[in-house]
């Protein structure tokens, strides 16, 4: 394991010592954030819902005018990883490669593909049983339709939003930790957590924010929408003013690492655990 916690590093299909510098200083991912990524959890050596992640990587690259992606190469990387570290977190980063200095891409550049793995985080089990606290971030997301929905490498807004609170430690059985922050757009609509998508529960119906102007459209969000529809739970994608959250029965945040967490506390109010929370969590753990 390297000093920064990496278990495994593979670049463009080649194993690399994770304790050594591995990215070229000319890489456009480093210089401009010109690329995309996914963070996934391996379970028993496999990535649940991998075809959705591969499709999301390809479509995100296409949104940036990049690609085509070679999913088979990444699948080989993940197979090597899964054989050595069956339970871990993998980040897959794909950049536009190198170019001469400047914003213009090189038409013949090959993409750079980085698969890097770290250990599973040691989250307290109480986040599923007791819920989490959700911080309301003061940073508002900028509206950029050309990039909305894409999990690209320009993540300064999330870095600044995540720096707003620092009480992420779970202090005891009865205390709810502030484990995520919610960001709004300039108009005051709820968009995303810093690292997650949001669902609200209103009288047995689910709703999740429209992400056509900002935010990241995560794979887990799509899986929850499909799960809800398959289980007869009405689920919509729409603009969600903050007031809808204050009045909701329950709030849930999700991503492909945490699965789904229900929110016990937000803006001074307590929220309920959704009746179907355990069923949802089990469904997300399945390889679908």
């Amino acid at each position: 394991m390297s000093a920064d916690g990496a278990l495994f590093l593979r670049i463009d299909g080649v194993d690399v010592d994770p304790s050594r510098p591995a990215i070229g200083a000319a890489d456009r991912g480093f210089n401009y954030g010109d690329g995309v990524f996914r963070t996934v959890r391996l379970a028993a050596g496999r990535v649940p819902a991998w075809p959705r992640h591969a499709a999301k990587l390809a479509s995100d690259l296409a949104r940036l005018g990049l690609g085509p992606l070679d999913p088979a190469g990444i699948e080989r990387d993940l197979a090597h990883l899964g054989a050595r570290h069956p339970e871990c977190i993998a980040r897959i980063t794909v950049t536009s490669g190198t170019s001469a200095r400047g914003y213009l891409r090189s038409p013949d550049a090959a993409l750079t593909t980085v698969v890097r793995a770290t250990a599973l985080p040691a989250w307290p089990a109480q986040r599923a049983t007791a819920g989490i606290g959700l911080h309301l971030c003061t940073l508002r997301l900028a509206e950029q339709p050309a990039l909305a929905g894409v999990k690209h490498l320009n993540r300064l807004e999330q870095v600044l939003a995540r720096a707003e609170w620092n009480d992420g430690q779970d202090a005891g059985e009865t205390q709810v930790a502030t484990a995520e922050g919610l960001t709004l757009d300039a108009g005051g609509h709820a968009i995303c957590g810093t690292m997650s998508n949001l669902f609200i529960v209103e009288g047995g119906r689910l709703a999740t924010p429209d992400l056509s102007r900002c935010g990241v459209e995560g794979v887990q969000r799509g899986r929850i929408l499909d799960w809800a529809r398959a289980n007869g739970i009405p689920a919509t994608v729409e603009a969600l003013p903050l007031a809808r959250l204050h009045a909701a029965d329950s709030l849930v945040v999700c991503n492909s690492v945490i699965g789904a967490w229900w929110v016990a506390r937000f803006c001074g109010r307590r929220f309920m655990r959704p009746a179907w929370y355990d069923e949802l969590a089990a469904a997300l753990d399945r390889d679908a």
Copy 2:
């Protein structure tokens, strides 16, 4: 020289082979664009107006909640570079270093400092004599006051805008090359070139866009504002709707690599070379 054109690479004050990977895969510059940069031109081994660049690096880092910067370390890097390559382009990148996976910075992380140099670009002299063509980009800049003005590493908007045109080659003495693109905000105000700041000339007065909601506040822009004021040319910072550009006498774009270029052609109209263009260009070449 490395395959990607680097003459020189120094990371955290240590010389590195520019043909080898040099950035850690855990670096937050690579993973999130969590950092800032400057691109400067060395002339006779020195960077004109270096104190302004050092101040801009420090204030940009502070805007991101990073720092303090060690300018003396970067000055040593630049002295090493200038002794070996007195005429070149240097990019100085400073990131938030490494952290555990996730958007939360490590409170004890050291900044990563990268100084990388490439050869002077071979721009035709006609860009100063015949002017340039300026493309009007369809991509609109998102408004994010928390990041406006800062030259940070999240540059996907500039990458997408720069991909809109591809006729940057100067084809002959009489042809004006499209050497830059102008980006507007969502409200239709002129903000920046993809790699430059903009000035407009109206009846002997200068104006440059207000950058409090988007855009990069470049060092060369500040130098031109100071030069104008010192030379009795009225100069203002204000919101500039596109119509003001269409009606202007002259347009000028500037950065610390190109100096200043005057615009001969924009949106089908011809523009004049400013009467004081040569004086301005000479002033920008001086070490002030």
